[in-house]
Every structure is written in C-alpha cells, then in structure tokens.
Point group: C2
C-alpha cells in the first residue's frame, strides 16, 4: 500500500487506530475453543466488528509462532481474510526481525511476498545492511524500532552515543539508508514527551505508537507532540480492544472499545 492511500483512509475514517491481534488461546472466549480454528474465528469476528473504526491491523507474530504449524496457518488465514474483505486496511507484521543481509531478504520475502503484509517491524541493532533489504520492496513499509514502550527501553535506547540518545542516532542514521522513504518508526506512547524531539529529526515519517491504554500512554499527548499535517500516526491498541469481554459478546464489546478510540481520535483530528 502506498503511504498516500493510508493517509486517505485515515482522513476518510477520521481514525488512525491500529488494532493489535495478539491472539492467545488462554484469553479468548471459551465457546470459541470448539471451533476448528479458534484463533482465526476470533480474529475474523474481531476484524468484522472493528474494521469500521480502524485503518490498520497488527498481528503480533509471536502469538502465532507459539502454536507452531497451526498458528502459522491461522496467521495466513487472517491476512488472507483481511486482503480479500478489507483491502483498504494497512497490515503490519509485528515481527521485530533483523539479520545479516541475505537473511533479512528472506524475512522480507516471508512477510512482504508469502504473507503479503504491507509492513513489518524491524530491530536496528545489526545496522544498515540488516535493514536495507526490507526497504528495497516498493510500496512496502519497514517500521524500525526507535524508542519502545517497555521499561527496557531505558537500558540501551536512551543511553548517550555521541552526546545524544541511541534511539536518536538510530533515527538520524536511518534517514541515510537506501529507500529511506519506506521507513516508519516505533515510538512508545508511554514516552510521549520525547515526541517533540523525535519530530525534529523525522518531521514527516509515520510513527507506530504502542502503549496507549493498557500501558498508560496518553492519546492527547501523542497527538500534541507527534501529529503531522498528514497525521503521521498509527496508534495501536491490542488487549484493551480484543479482550474487552470474554463472553459471547466479545466482538460487540471490542467494536465498542474501537469506536470509543476512534471518537477520541476524531476529536483530536478536529482540534487541529
């Protein structure tokens, strides 16, 4: 998907919500466990109930890999369901990959071609030649970890390198990569105050923002400091939406949570 198409969807739906599909057999409603593929059944119902209020879906690949072959099958069916029924949705493989060049190329094939995701999250530790193979795919997006939402973000990401935080060095350096226009960045909402400085380095890039809700981030702050003229934000919510209820009304309740977030987003959009 082209960035302009994503922006058009955001403006049309007045939403920059991404729904995280961290689907866990221990947390989904018990009545679904009788289905042939409970993970896919759950995802399908969640997607149908929330798609009107969001512009992106982000399956967290770990949750599928944990179930081996069966999980990989559920992931494939989920992404196929999305591209067949809701091709306007931007899809993110939350995979946090990154390896030497020839190996990164294989991961890119796995997620951009075999599974046909629009984007993938990537860890920067191994540097330029581990990231560029992903950037070589046209109309595909590489979402580089910059400043994550977890406590461990302060272990290395905020350490000073050449007088400024490592995550800023990551942002700055990545701008010189071949096809850097295909870069987006992960910036945790739990660190909204950092967004002002981040926007000085990457004024227009899209940011994938986890951590609003369950992890304590504020939507208003994220918008105040992070929004660009083309919005430039995808705010993710996973558990807060998909596990809103674990009864037979789970999809309906997920839809309501997504709608609430969409309405909050609409207010933020109309303020500006």
């Amino acid at each position: 998907m082209k960035t302009e198409e994503l922006v058009a969807q955001i403006k049309k739906k007045k939403s920059f919500l991404c729904v995280g599909l961290d689907t866990d057999l221990d947390k989904i409603p018990a009545h679904l466990l009788k289905e042939e593929d409970p993970i896919f059944s759950f995802n399908k119902a969640i997607i149908d109930a929330t798609q009107e209020f969001c512009v992106a879906y982000k399956p967290n690949i770990a949750f599928y890999e944990a179930y081996g072959l069966q999980g990989w099958q559920s992931l494939q069916k989920t992404i196929d369901y999305l591209s067949t029924n809701y091709p306007e949705q931007f899809t993110i493989a939350d995979a946090k990959r990154g390896d030497i060049g020839n190996t990164s190329t294989r991961y890119a094939k796995a997620f951009f071609e075999t599974l046909n995701f629009d984007s993938i999250t990537i860890a920067p530790y191994m540097g330029k030649d581990s990231v560029e193979p992903f950037l070589a795919f046209e109309d595909k997006h590489t979402i580089l970890l910059a400043l994550t939402s977890n406590k461990g973000a302060f272990d290395f990401q905020t350490q000073l390198v050449k007088g400024e935080a490592l995550y800023k060095e990551v942002l700055r350096t990545s701008k010189t990569y071949a096809n850097a226009k295909n870069l987006m960045y992960v910036v945790g909402a739990t660190k909204a105050a950092y967004l002002k400085e981040i926007r000085q380095i990457i004024p227009e890039s899209f940011l994938l923002v986890p951590g609003v809700g369950a992890q304590g981030g504020s939507l208003k702050e994220v918008c105040d400091y992070g929004m660009t003229k083309d919005i430039g934000l995808l705010v993710n919510s996973s558990r807060g939406i998909i596990y809103a209820s674990n009864g037979i009304d789970f999809a309906e309740e997920a839809g309501k949570k997504a709608m609430q977030l969409q309405q909050d987003m609409q207010l933020e959009l109309e303020k500006r």
Copy 2:
C-alpha cells in the same frame, strides 16, 4: 540440554563445529526439487553426512519462514529428525527475536516448547525485560547478539556509550539479568581481535561465532583469543558446508567440508 552435556560432546568429538542450515530452494541440488519436501530431504542428507563432525545445528529461521506454511513444516520435521536420531546435538534457532515481556514469552514457547530447540538467538535492543522471559526456561540457552559479523555491526554496536562500545555495555548489563547463567553470546569471527576484551567481561560464557570461512574470519584467531578451559566456543559454518556441491554428491562433499573443519578444530584443541 545442560551446558556440561554440550562441553562433554565437544571434548568427545574434538569439535566445536555448528552447521548452519540456511536451506534455500534456489541453491539446493536440482534433483531434490522432485521430492515431496525438498528442504527436509536436503537437511536430512546434510545432517546424516555431517553429524559425526559437529556438535550443533543452527537452522536459520528466515529461510523457513520465507516458504510460509510449507517452510514451517520443513523446520518442524528437521528439528524432530535431529531430536529423534541425534539427541546429543545442540540445536540453535537462529531467530534474532526480542519484544516486550509477554511477547518474548510467546517466542520462548514457540522455540523452546513447540519446536523444542535447545537455544535461540536474541537481539538486545529492547533491554532486560525483552530478554529475561527467555532466560526463565531451565536447560535452555539464550544467545544474545553482542558483536555481529556484518558491516552494520559498526553502525551502533561499536558506538561509545559511557565511554565504551555499546556491545560491551550489552555484555556487562546482561550479566545482571535473572538466570544469566543461561546466556551465550553471538560474536562474529570477522572481529576476532575484539575477543580478548570480550573475554575480560564474560570469561566463561559460550560464544556462537559466525563468519569463519565465507565471511573471512580466522579459526586460529578465534581460538587464540576466545577459547576457555571448557572450550566456550561454537563456530558456525553454513554456506561453506551445505553448498559445497550442488550435484548428487552434495551430502558427501558437505561431509568432507565438515570433516576438514573438525580436523582444524582438533588441531587447535590439541595445541592447548
């Protein structure tokens, strides 16, 4: 597998060779493409021909994910084949994962339980709470990226943080993690000269060393600077062994390459 069992295997076989299974349908012998599962057929033949000379196998997960469901199936069959027929072999999922805590736990389940690998490679960028979930598994090993063998290693890993290189900060910090005894580290052979300083920080931990051969690293230097009294090294070779020939003699030629490396390793072991 317990570390002592790995050490005992190394001493018995006089080898600390790890064979990397970066299996690529474009590179395996053409006659295998007619088989039902060419990737598994290739791996099986390579394993049978090399197992006598090595102590570990390292499937590179990207190469399997690139083929989607089919690839995941080949991976499962490969790891099952190893544990059934050669349970003394140490198995490494070269996956370079790492995410927030609850997600890292899912990756740990995927590789340590569902696939039953002995170890996995992990990227440190997200810090302590992204690594510790892997360390919680008894007799399983977490191989943290410290200094990788690629050019991009100089982008961030060698940048100075608190007056010393980031990879050293990673090494030092990781020693304080819960169950740090389950840590091993990736250190590229292309940077053997760094091993002396690395050994000052982690004198006894096992190192997984890629980059000998194809990428230009020297076995002698790795041993001179990196070997401990319990050896403490697993030296990986992938392409140099598995693609030694792409004719019908591919397994035999792979066996010869593995044997050569084992003999070189035996010489190094006998020197000390």
